[in-house]
């Protein structure tokens, strides 16, 4: 069975998303799904960076946080209109990520990982220390609601649709990117930067481009977060959060757009399901990362794929063997 074409996928996805709230037992699950959607947007972007372009970022939560704080500060403290705050937040992250990308993406492997990690921690420290601006460790509250076409989005249900519409949009854009010459260039860079450059691909510019794109996607999610929770604190955007995002991408399956999304949903929903585990979740994350890398490097997507082959292969074995040509 061939996978459904992109348009069909989006249609099916949209239908599922539209219908899902009806099936949920109570409103709380909407909150979980909203957060899953936000994580999904970031994971989609991070997947493009890690799975397709083959880079790594251990500080992506910093972009999430920068955007959330920027729109929060502009709208709560300086009373900017919400759309302006959100736009400014994404613009700021675009600028910062472009700035940091230029020197950082010249690094490779471990140095790149450390560089992004260091950047993420610096942002976290600044968020904690610039108390006058950010409210310090206690955070910043009173952030106004998101409003669309002049009307504030008040119900969780409405927000759920807003966030998941954004997810679908990002998924569509990412899908189009992957099936374009830029997508090929990314995958080329991942496998062999030397060969990619020899074919005329400006590897540096391309890597910077996808880094900035993934940072902006995290920024979009950040603004949606801020105007939903209406409160931001540094703890949400630290190293643990960055690691969680990487886990989502790895666990879901790098190199497939579905992977990032699946990982985000699973790892957002799972802790809710495993409420009982409380403090154990941090160990579980670590174990998931290790086991995934060791046994299922392609993540959930690979797992599903293998399972599918197992099932279909079983059915094929019942058919008589073909004559060799």
């Amino acid at each position: 069975m061939r996978p459904a074409g992109p348009a069909a996928t989006l249609l099916i996805g949209a239908t599922v998303i539209a219908v899902l709230p009806v099936l949920l037992p109570n409103e709380y699950y909407l909150t979980v799904l909203i957060v899953a959607g936000l994580n999904g947007i970031i994971a989609l972007g991070l997947n493009l960076l890690m799975g397709y372009a083959g880079q790594i970022s251990l500080g992506h939560a910093a972009f999430y946080g920068l955007a959330a704080y920027t729109t929060g500060i502009l709208t709560a403290t300086y009373h900017w209109p919400v759309p302006a705050g959100m736009a400014a937040a994404v613009a700021l992250v675009l600028a910062v990520s472009a700035l940091i990308a230029v020197p950082t993406l010249r690094l490779k492997g471990h140095y790149l990982a450390m560089g992004t990690l260091g950047f993420g921690l610096i942002v976290y420290i600044v968020l904690n220390e610039a108390t006058g601006l950010t409210g310090g460790p206690s955070g910043l509250g009173g952030i106004p609601r998101l409003s669309l076409a002049g009307r504030p989005v008040t119900s969780d249900l409405a927000y759920y649709y807003v966030v998941w519409a954004a997810v679908l949009l990002c998924f569509a854009v990412a899908g189009n990117l992957v099936r374009s010459r830029l997508g090929r260039a990314l995958r080329a860079i991942h496998t062999s930067e030397t060969a990619a450059a020899a074919l005329g691909i400006d590897t540096e510019r391309t890597k910077i481009g996808v880094f900035v794109l993934s940072a902006c996607m995290a920024a979009v999610a950040g603004t949606l977060y801020a105007h939903y929770v209406r409160f931001v604190s540094p703890g949400t955007f630290g190293f643990a959060a960055s690691v969680q995002l990487v886990t989502m991408v790895v666990l879901g399956g790098m190199g497939s757009l579905w992977g990032g999304l699946a990982g985000a949903v699973v790892l957002t929903v799972l802790p809710e399901v495993l409420r009982a585990l409380e403090d154990y979740d941090i160990v579980v994350y670590g174990l998931l990362l290790i086991l995934c890398m060791m046994y299922l490097p392609g993540g959930l997507v690979e797992g599903v794929d293998r399972l599918w082959r197992l099932v279909t292969a079983r059915r094929l074995r019942l058919a008589p063997p073909e004559d060799p040509a």
């Binding site: 010459r181 260039a185 450059a197």
Partner: protein
């Protein structure tokens, strides 16, 4: 530096060393347009280093490479590709997770330039240019005889096909100069004959080819001119017949098959 008469791709006084090792010493060469120039020499003579200098992978300590009047020295690798100089690699550098067709499509990266707006909204320009690119890619695959493997993952191809795929990928870039780094390495006799045939057909299309090779049969059979390196220095240059008779060349190769 003055452009030598008739010189299409030429280099002057190229010198390169790594730490204590002198890879290239004062190498000068001239390639005529639409020629097939082969570079030979014992192992470690600096052949691949010279290719790497031409394509911008290494930057020479001294000297320069020129395409007619245009200096290529100091340009990054992708800029040199944009000048129309494309190469293959001694140790294959295929995009193993992509199919053969996708590899060749990537080869044609420079042929079209649709932008973010186009791929994001799948505009008419996007569709038209992708279709045109696909046609060219399929033609390149057909040229080397790999049409049947278009949808095979490059990493799964048998070695001989993989070598040809790299050539198809380079051809998709519609280069003016094609650099082949030991294209026959690891190929059996039959595959080498097919390769030689393909290379001559490439030259027939008007492309200038520079080839680094060890297989003397192939070299003597297809080359227009031969450049011989030893210990990073040029020791002979001329037609295959001239080079074959050159006593310095024979001495350099004595004992090596």
């Amino acid at each position: 530096m003055n452009a030598k008469a008739g010189a299409f791709l030429w280099g002057e006084d190229i010198t390169l060393h790594f730490g204590g090792v002198q890879a290239l010493e004062s190498v000068s060469f001239r390639v005529k347009e639409n020629d097939l120039q082969t570079i030979i020499g014992p192992n470690g003579a600096g052949k691949t280093s010279l290719l790497n200098v031409i394509t911008g992978v290494y930057w020479a300590d001294r000297g320069g490479v020129f395409l007619r009047e245009q200096p290529l020295t100091g340009l990054p690798a992708h800029a040199i590709a944009r000048s129309g100089i494309v190469r293959t690699f001694q140790n294959l550098e295929l995009f193993s997770t992509m199919t053969a067709l996708e590899n060749v499509l990537t080869g044609g990266h420079l042929l079209f330039h649709y932008g973010m707006r186009d791929w994001c909204f799948r505009t008419h320009r996007f569709r038209a240019e992708e279709a045109a690119l696909r046609e060219k890619a399929e033609a390149a695959l057909a040229f080397v005889g790999l049409s049947a493997t278009a949808d095979t993952l490059a990493g799964n191809l048998p070695f001989g096909s993989a070598r040809l795929l790299e050539i198809a990928r380079a051809l998709a870039a519609e280069p003016r100069v094609l650099l082949l780094d030991e294209p026959a390495a690891g190929l059996n006799i039959r595959e080498t004959v097919v390769l030689g045939d393909i290379i001559r057909r490439i030259v027939d299309r008007g492309i200038t080819v520079i080839m680094v090779e060890h297989d003397m049969d192939l070299v003597m059979r297809v080359s227009d001119r031969v450049l011989v390196l030893n210990y990073g220095k040029v020791i002979a240059e001329g037609t295959p017949a001239e080079v074959q008779r050159n006593p310095d060349v024979i001495a350099a190769y004595l004992g090596e098959v």
